[in-house]
Symmetry: C2
Subunit: 226 residues, 2 copies
DNA sequence: GCCTATTTATGAGCGTACTCATTTTTATGA
DNA sequence: TCATAAAAATGAGTACGCTCATAAATAGGC
């Protein structure tokens, strides 16, 4: 019973009228979704600064003040984009059976490429928000926790993939640093991507391919027993 | 004569009253300095969000509107911090003769350590601004150019140091990628630094030392002839 | 169904970053 | 020295993100 308090979406009891408290929760859930959908569409179209909270609430069909009952700030709202993105990425990888036996560089290329494709329609928005999502924010913000969780989730995801490569002797055992390195590498790639004026961001993709192979190669040759 | 238009501070003609147009330019220069000084002190004390443009202009002894004749936005104003920092770093390195013959990891450690010391009093401010300083901003902003210049200046500085290490066979020839890697590495270090709760940021310094030696080691062993 | 407590929605109001028409200061040429 | 043009300073005004007192909606007990 007490376990329930750890569940994000309390299970509805089937008894009582209209599932009891369920109606309220359902509405809340729906409103939140409406806000997120409206915001993302506007962000995609006009970027972060180009979108006003008035526009968002108008498009979501709620009062201006209501928006702030759901998201503490406009920035917090923007950061939910990355929760969706990460969850989507992990789900997608889980379903890409073909990838699971591929060599490490190929795997990482596919994963990062997928992330770039996901953010592609939101370029301006990403430029404004991506790096903020990585910085620590005021301790009181609930998003401080949430973004921390998100980072850990991503790191665990990468760690698992690297651990598998270690087992297969594709790379020497590099431990926890590996996942941080990949995260950092991704930051670098996104920076390059943002500055990249080439058609279809081809230059970034080339850099991605080149540097992944390079890094794996160096690791293989150099070993890690220093 | 026509060369003058390329000079940032037109040379004063000694004739005419009060050096002619000089008085105006001098005042402008002074006002800009006053604003910068006031802003940095307030940023250090209250962070970026905690400082209002009203406070800045009040402390600088000017009207609110005047501030925006000198800096397009509060953020642009904040970014001038990094110009000062980079210039200071390069000047400092030039004067540190002792370092010029040190091994590469030691050199890089000293440089990055110096950067961390420079930003230390501004932690909150840095958290809010550092990564924005790396992102491309709207093409129309004059700071777009200035921040681009600043990045190139830093990259050239690092490139020179790496080229020297290549000559001494400390590392294999890694070309232009090296400087990017160092820049990226610095981003990672700053991220760690911002999250680091340890006394005097010792953990970050340890990480810095460890990873620099590691990277150099791997490079030496692995070579680059793939 | 009805009363009460709790949750959710509302929009006028606040302080902010920033703009712009106007005023003040400075440079120039006669 | 004065008249005129150019540059710089000014601060009331604007749109924004966000708050908060109040109103509406919902849940639970009788």
């Amino acid at each position: 019973m007490s376990v329930l308090i750890f569940m994000k979406q309390p299970a509805n009891e089937k008894k009582g009228k209209a599932a009891s408290k369920g109606k309220r929760n359902l509405n809340k859930e729906r409103t939140k979704e409406k806000i997120l959908a409206a915001a993302l569409e506007l962000f995609r179209e006009h970027g972060l600064e180009g979108t006003t909270t008035k526009q968002i609430s108008r498009k979501a069909g709620i009062a201006e003040g209501t928006l702030f009952n759901y998201f503490k700030t406009k920035e917090d709202l923007a950061l939910f984009f990355f929760q969706k993105e990460t969850n989507d990425l992990i789900r997608w990888y889980g379903q890409s059976a073909r990838l699971h036996d591929a060599p490490l560089p190929e795997k990482l290329f596919a994963i990062i490429h997928r992330q770039l494709e996901y953010i592609a329609p939101y370029e301006e928005f990403i430029g404004a928000v991506f790096f903020r999502s990585l910085q620590p924010r005021s301790k009181l913000s609930p998003l401080s926790l949430e973004s921390q969780e998100l980072r850990l989730k991503y790191l665990r995801f990468v760690s698992d993939i690297l651990a598998q490569a270690e087992e297969k002797k594709e790379i020497p055992p590099i431990g926890e640093l590996g996942a941080y390195a990949v995260g950092l590498f991704y930051m670098g790639i996104v920076t390059h991507w943002l500055h990249d004026p080439s058609e279809g961001k081809q230059k970034t993709l080339a850099l991605l391919d080149r540097s992944l192979n390079l890094a794996t190669n160096v690791l293989k040759k150099g070993g890690w027993d220093w």
